[in-house]
């Protein structure tokens, strides 16, 4: 039998090294694999001179090994292989699953700004592949039962994007909408009700164990990896700081920073009680229940002592508010929540300018789509229950539609709009905009824009309060 190992065109030295290590090779040999074909891409391999070769062969531990920099016909390799071991690149995963080949993926842990691990976890949760780590590669191969894998459905494009939508917070194609109701009524129907539905789906339908932390729930939480700028913001905070995650959702940021757990305390606030039940145990593992502080509340509320928090984050939340005034008030609530003296605020919202991975088409009011956006777009993003979910008993049976579709409302921000919103909110809150300088009277209050930008389909802005 043949095993094909590929890292695509990436550099992933550790996987290449592991693939031709004694434990992996002897495991493969014992399972009957006599040939191993390996595409190293840009990985560096020992000894150094071998990297000059585009292809060479060795034999180790009874396995014939061919090492290629790039294999000319990779599709043919997938087809002839009995097992594929790969980095967790989405293109490779998709190609292999479509061929129905057994796949073991090893996400590259050194890639921070990358969806690899969440994608791998999500697909493993659905039973389509096996995800593992470098350390556990040999034991995973030894215990791997390709027969237990769930066949990947015939490719129709939607499965993959559904998955990305649900598990990674990305979106399906969206449609333009005009908010005609009262903004609050609109949010009740197109934001709060939908999130409660999605959350109850994850916590009760698909994952049946509610009283203890089920391993599936743990995987769901773990599948959502923090974004680099958010992770860095939280990990730079001094020990002893207390913060508010306004719109905490399933609580993915509550366990951070990962390298110093418990050094800061983030309290999660959300409108969806169902999501909070997930957030309440974010970061728990089977057998190790961790309880987070969560509060059921509205991001436009202010049920805390003013300025009591050292920091506040608002990730993918303000874009659910259905009017400019409400979005501005949400920013002011964040400014009000944090210390006038040193409070830090980080806000993320979805951008009209979307990245390549999600490949969604955003309807625009521009006829030719060429002129830059300035005011953002109000859109609906459908959330569709995927096939896997529907096999279980639906929580809320829908009378008409066979595939329930829930429209979630978003205001997608235009370039510059978030900064403008923050500046306007701060000014009306009585704050001077700019870095703390010596030019102001004593007691003057202000806010500095520490950084702003676009990251993976989102605009973000980081603010810091000061008193002179």
């Amino acid at each position: 039998m043949i095993v094909f190992v590929t890292v695509g065109s990436t550099r992933f030295d550790a996987l290449i090294e592991a693939a031709i290590s004694e434990p992996v090779l002897t495991t493969l040999r014992d399972l009957g694999y006599a040939r191993l074909i390996l595409q190293r891409g840009n990985s560096i391999i020992e000894p150094e001179e071998s990297n000059r070769e585009s292809c060479y062969s060795i034999q180790r531990y009874g396995v014939d090994i061919e090492i290629w920099k790039f294999k000319p016909s990779i599709q043919a390799e997938f087809e002839q292989a009995d097992l594929i071991i790969s980095h967790a690149g989405s293109g490779t995963i998709l190609d292999v699953l479509r061929l129905g080949k057994p796949l073991v993926v090893v996400p590259n842990p050194t890639l921070l700004d990358n969806h690899q691990e969440e994608l791998a976890s999500a697909l493993q949760t659905l039973g389509h592949l096996k995800a593992t780590s470098i350390q556990n590669l040999a034991s995973t191969i030894a215990s791997f039962e390709p027969r237990d894998l769930v066949p990947f459905p015939p490719f129709d494009g939607s499965k993959f994007s559904n998955l990305i939508d649900e598990e990674m917070g990305n979106m399906k194609p969206v449609k333009s909408v005009t908010v005609v109701d009262d903004p609050q009524v609109h949010e009740d129907q197109y934001v709060h009700a939908v999130y409660d539905q999605i959350a109850s789906h994850f916590s009760s339908t698909r994952y049946k164990v509610r009283t203890t932390v089920s391993s599936n729930l743990y995987r769901f939480n773990r599948a959502l990896q923090p974004w680099p700028i958010i992770a860095k913001f939280l990990s730079d905070l001094p020990t002893g700081w207390i913060g508010l995650d306004s719109g905490a959702g399933n609580g993915k940021y509550l366990p951070l920073p990962a390298d110093r757990p418990g050094c800061i305390l983030t309290i999660g606030l959300d409108r969806s009680r169902n999501l909070l039940q997930i957030a309440q145990h974010a970061g728990s593992e089977p057998g190790r229940l961790i309880t987070r502080e969560v509060v059921w509340g509205d991001v436009l509320g202010s049920g805390w002592r003013s300025g009591v928090f050292d920091y506040a984050i608002s990730i993918a939340t303000i874009h659910h508010l259905a009017s400019h005034g409400r979005r501005k008030l949400a920013v002011q609530r964040l400014l009000q929540a944090v210390s006038p003296d040193h409070g830090r605020v980080l806000i993320y919202v979805w951008a009209i300018e979307q990245d390549e991975l999600s490949k969604r088409s955003i309807p625009t009011s521009d006829s030719d789509g060429s002129s830059p956006h300035t005011t953002g777009e109000d859109v609906f993003v459908p959330w569709v229950m995927s096939r896997q979910h529907k096999q279980d008993t639906p929580v809320v049976p829908t009378s008409v539609a066979e595939t329930p579709v829930y429209n979630r409302y978003y205001h997608m921000f235009a370039n510059g709009e978030l900064k403008q919103l923050a500046v306007q909110a701060a000014e009306e809150f009585g704050l001077v905009i700019g870095p703390r300088g010596n030019v102001y009277d004593e007691g003057c209050r202000g806010i500095e824009i520490v950084q702003e930008g676009w990251e993976r389909s989102n605009y973000y802005v980081e603010l810091r309060r000061w008193v002179s």
Binding site: I242, W296, S302, G303
Partner: protein, 123 residues
């Protein structure tokens, strides 16, 4: 969850309720103890954010009388341990928190406090 650390941050936000709206007073509470990892640096650095008297009274309401009435100047390890227990290990699972000014009750159920207000109460 409502632990005393969270309770010490929360205040009533009913429209017009701006004085004596902190601390909220526990009512009919059920408490559960859950061990948490002791991080003395976190407790020591975090402490200036808390209202000491409110903490001592809240701890009493949930049956913990280990804290001194006055905040000591020196934080020794024994006191940090007591604070850790009071702030991080006592979970209020059921009950309510009541505003002493306007009497609004914020219910706690399954460890989740409900700070939502009715439309006419929003400021």
């Amino acid at each position: 969850m409502v632990r005393l650390i969270t309770h010490n941050l929360l205040a009533c936000h009913v429209k017009g309720c701006t004085t004596n709206n902190f601390p909220l007073v526990f009512q009919d509470v059920q408490v559960e103890l859950q061990e948490a990892e002791f991080n003395p640096d976190f407790i020591r650095n975090m402490l200036p954010r808390l209202e000491w008297t409110a903490l001592v009274n809240a701890a009493k309401q949930v049956g913990d009388t280990s804290l001194p009435l006055e905040q000591p100047d020196m934080m020794d390890d024994e006191l940090l341990q007591k604070l850790h227990h009071a702030l991080m290990e006592i979970h209020i699972i059921e009950g309510a928190m009541v505003c002493q000014n306007c009497r609004h009750a914020y219910p706690i159920s399954n460890g989740i406090p409900n700070m939502l207000l009715a439309e006419h109460e929003i400021g």
